[in-house]
């Protein structure tokens, strides 16, 4: 059976302590940049130590655009070293990386130039991850302008063999990606999913519960069960209660083989 993990996206700031109410067979993913060392050390001691399920980390992404010429990449490296130390201290299973951020002026340079810059930086972070023994996962994005379309995203994993994929299902919906094909193409390179729903192509990235938006989740889980049945399933929801998350996790359990 797949591992089901719950993102701290529904437990921001002081609400992080409420993650203790989640059943311990559900894992925990934390948005690591959203707290300082004191909060994490005390929260993770309670949430993660001796938990019989998996702990994962969403790496930093705010004010960090790997596609931008203005990105202070040495600072990004330091921030990821900080993140990787938490990975090792608490025995995490993956760290999620955004390959780029919001691009306000796509015409400023060619997509090829941006793609080259992103790949170079992902590669450096991948090398750093190898040094730290970290399983680094690159996520698909859903900004109006994306550097990696579906085909280019799949190609990241040919170009950089040491990283694996995390597919955000909601992001796929917004960008009208062919989800069964994506899962077939990447197969076991998909190490984890962000499960979330929304109202489809070009709509907002609102991280609804599975089944509330337009996702054909039966089709998704058919492909999942066929192509990557061991991938971790991270429920990354916004504005939901513990009870709603538990109900959603129970629904997911009925859909995985």
């Amino acid at each position: 059976m797949s591992n089901i993990v719950i993102s701290s996206s529904a437990f921001l700031a002081f609400n992080i302590v409420n993650m203790v109410k989640l059943p311990r067979e559900l894992g925990i993913e934390v948005l690591i940049e959203n707290a300082n060392d004191y909060v994490w050390q005390h929260a993770l001691q309670e949430l993660v130590v001796d938990r019989p399920s998996e702990f994962t980390i969403h790496g930093p992404f705010l004010y960090m655009n790997l596609a931008s010429i203005d990105c202070e990449f040495d600072q990004v490296i330091e921030n990821y070293k900080w993140t990787f130390n938490y990975y090792n201290k608490y025995g995490a299973k993956h760290v999620v990386l955004h390959p780029h951020g919001f691009i306000s002026n796509p015409q400023e340079e060619t997509n090829e130039a941006r793609k080259t810059r992103c790949l170079e930086r992902i590669n450096k972070l991948a090398e750093l991850a190898c040094q730290f023994g970290v399983n680094l996962l690159v996520e698909n994005m859903c900004y109006p302008y994306i550097v990696f379309d579906q085909e280019a995203y799949v190609d990241i994993f040919n170009q950089i063999p040491s990283v694996n994929s995390l597919i955000d299902v909601g992001h796929c919906l917004i960008k009208s990606w062919d989800i069964p094909k994506l899962l077939k193409d990447l197969g076991s390179r998909i190490n984890a999913f962000h499960i979330d729903d929304n109202y489809g192509p070009n709509q907002k990235d609102i991280h609804l519960k599975l089944g509330v938006g337009v996702l054909d989740y039966q089709e998704f889980f058919d492909a999942y069960n066929l192509y990557c049945p061991n991938s971790r399933l991270v429920l990354e929801y916004l504005g939901v209660s513990v009870e709603e998350i538990v109900d959603s996790a129970n629904l997911v359990k009925t859909l995985v083989k």
């Binding site: 921001l12 700031a13 002081f14 302590v17 300082n36 705010l62 004010y63 600072q75």
Partner: protein
């Protein structure tokens, strides 16, 4: 008098929405909900060209200064880090919670826990002063209070170096006599958390959404602490509605 808007409705990824706050208003951030990188870039962007002030809400998550088993050494370190942030980013104050929920253990004596909280607040304030930071002690909302109104004033006011932030919503939640509180503490009150509720929960409603007599409050404010900063600590946005509410606040002034 400065008007400052709290980060409360914009936690996590949503903080960038605070860029939409007009530049004449300040911003108060919950400093523990970000790491060094996060604050370096977030504050740089939020404060760019802003004439309003930055203030910092000090750490309180999993911290209870009134509890015997408070991780005191770790608390000292996280406060020192917060004070460093105040200096790095020119924050005008750092808010301190003197206690969390009422401690509960065998042999519990309220007076011991009150003294412990006050002793620790005093120590933190000494460190703040040594780092050139103005720390403000806030009144709390918990169902049972370690420091009720009389104790809050009687324990803390005699320590001359201690300054205060009065949270209006917390005061009304516990039916504190707000007029008396402002008269007692006067200009030792350096800031307010402005919000209200229906005395049933700490719901952080906007001015005018609940039952508080704001005309009375602002009359007392002008009489006793007219220079104190007003930090609008609302649970919800959007920014347009907060801006609209500022017009109402100004009408009382």
């Amino acid at each position: 008098m400065d008007i400052i808007i709290s980060h409360l409705p914009y936690l996590g990824t949503w903080i960038s929405a605070m860029n939409g706050i007009p530049k004449e208003y300040g911003i108060e951030v919950f400093i523990e909900y970000g790491n060094d990188y996060f604050w370096k870039y977030t504050i740089k962007e939020l404060m760019d060209g802003r004439t309003g002030k930055l203030s910092i809400h000090g750490p309180f998550c999993q911290i209870n200064l009134a509890a015997k088993d408070c991780n005191w050494q770790d608390v000292l370190e996280t406060y020192k880090w917060s004070f460093d942030c105040c200096n790095k980013y020119n924050a005008v104050h750092c808010v301190c919670h003197p206690h969390a929920a009422m401690p509960d253990y065998e042999g519990f004596q309220l007076i011991d826990n009150q003294k412990l909280a006050v002793e620790r607040v005093n120590k933190l304030n000494e460190i703040a002063k040594s780092q050139g930071v103005e720390m403000l002690v806030e009144n709390m909302p918990y169902p049972t209070l370690v420091l009720q109104q009389d104790d809050f004033v009687n324990y803390l006011k005699p320590i001359e170096d201690i300054q205060f932030l009065i949270d209006v919503g917390h005061a009304m939640l516990h039916n504190w006599d707000i007029t008396k509180l402002l008269a007692d503490l006067g200009d030792r009150i350096r800031a307010y958390h402005v919000h209200e509720n229906f005395r049933d929960a700490d719901s952080h409603l906007k001015v005018g959404e609940g039952p508080l007599d704001w005309k009375q409050f602002f009359s007392d404010y002008k009489k006793y602490s007219p220079e104190a900063r007003l930090v609008l600590e609302y649970m919800h946005g959007p920014i347009d509605s907060i801006i609209e509410n500022i017009a109402l606040v100004k009408s009382y002034l």
